[in-house]
Symmetry: C2
Subunit: 204 residues, 2 copies
Amino acid sequence: MVLRVLLVDDHRVLREGLEAALNALPDIAIIGSVGAGADALARLAETHADVVVTDQSMPGMDGLELAASIRRSYPETRCLLLTMHEEAFLRAEARRVGAHGLLPKSTSAEELARSIRLVAGGGTAFPPEAAAPDGGREGVRLTPRERQVLNLIVQECSNVQIAESLFISVQTVETHRKNIFRKTKAQSLVGLINFAHANGLVKP
Amino acid sequence: MVLRVLLVDDHRVLREGLEAALNALPDIAIIGSVGAGADALARLAETHADVVVTDQSMPGMDGLELAASIRRSYPETRCLLLTMHEEAFLRAEARRVGAHGLLPKSTSAEELARSIRLVAGGGTAFPPEAAAPDGGREGVRLTPRERQVLNLIVQECSNVQIAESLFISVQTVETHRKNIFRKTKAQSLVGLINFAHANGLVKP
DNA sequence: ACAGAAATACCCACCGGTGGGTAGATGCCT
DNA sequence: AGGCATCTACCCACCGGTGGGTATTTCTGT
């Protein structure tokens, strides 16, 4: 049985390369190759896919949002995320939205193919937990509100602007801010922004 | 005549994909595929390459540094940079270190192949100037000292720490900082850090 | 020789974020 | 019912970065 795979990545050079590599395999058929989340949804409306392989960082809809959307509209389609970011933080997010796998881009094409077969067969493909007990960032779990505040911080909003846009007081924003700092172990605002970038929380 | 090409990218999935796509072409031969700048130099010491195709963002040595190094040691080898960042700023840097081309990762495999042939033939491959006269960031030209200061800022150094590590006064650091802000049109520290990330100035 | 860029350094004033607390009101899970 | 997480809000104090200036020395290109 041949697996029908849809590729989603804004980098054509990667997409077309992967197409060439995966199409060479007898049990995988690339039934689409698009550069944006919206295009992926449009393609899925036309034809069925067994597995969607998507990049995380994309302009507009990112991989997590796409996975969440696919989960709602096509629950039988499996979703495999590719990321160039630190997986520890994203893994939790990927599980949260119901994705079936998350692989770093340093994965080989062969491993990717194996993972595609794995998730198509009902399994999940997440990288090993990489047990880092030294108080690393693997356990960073931000609340929805904190994620929202962090997003606005990254978008260059001041505390006053954040307070206005969320209809809360500036002191509350400062409290959220402190909690985010504590959880991410950031030493300064710069460290926090770097954290956001390193974990794919910023749109390109 | 067959062009000998060396691929450099820390993302195996892209590298192996590109290998498959380019090896399918009769006039291109992939003579190596490595994941780091140091490995690329080691490979070049073993065998000759006509064109090196390298990613910009890599841990350790980045694409610009690799290109500069190749320029010194193997002046006849051509160097083509691939980047996922905004090209405007990097283009100037790429020209500065003597690279022969800079392409966004949104380029198609076919265009990449054309550019490989182009630079191998003695030409250069830089994206169109994308004339943006509306005071965009295409003209951002930081001085060496400013680049140094910006790097330290991104590494979470305070002004005092920067002053100490560069053996200058804090006021001078503040002056550099102001000039960087003016040139990059950043509205806040967050905007500045975002600029650094968007232009590939931060190591992964 | 002269213009211009680059790097250095200082002045003053301001405010916004940082760090340290404490605490009430929800709502959810067991 | 009790426990826990989350969201909300306030207090106080401090300092570091921001924005506005001006000015000197050195070097480079023409």
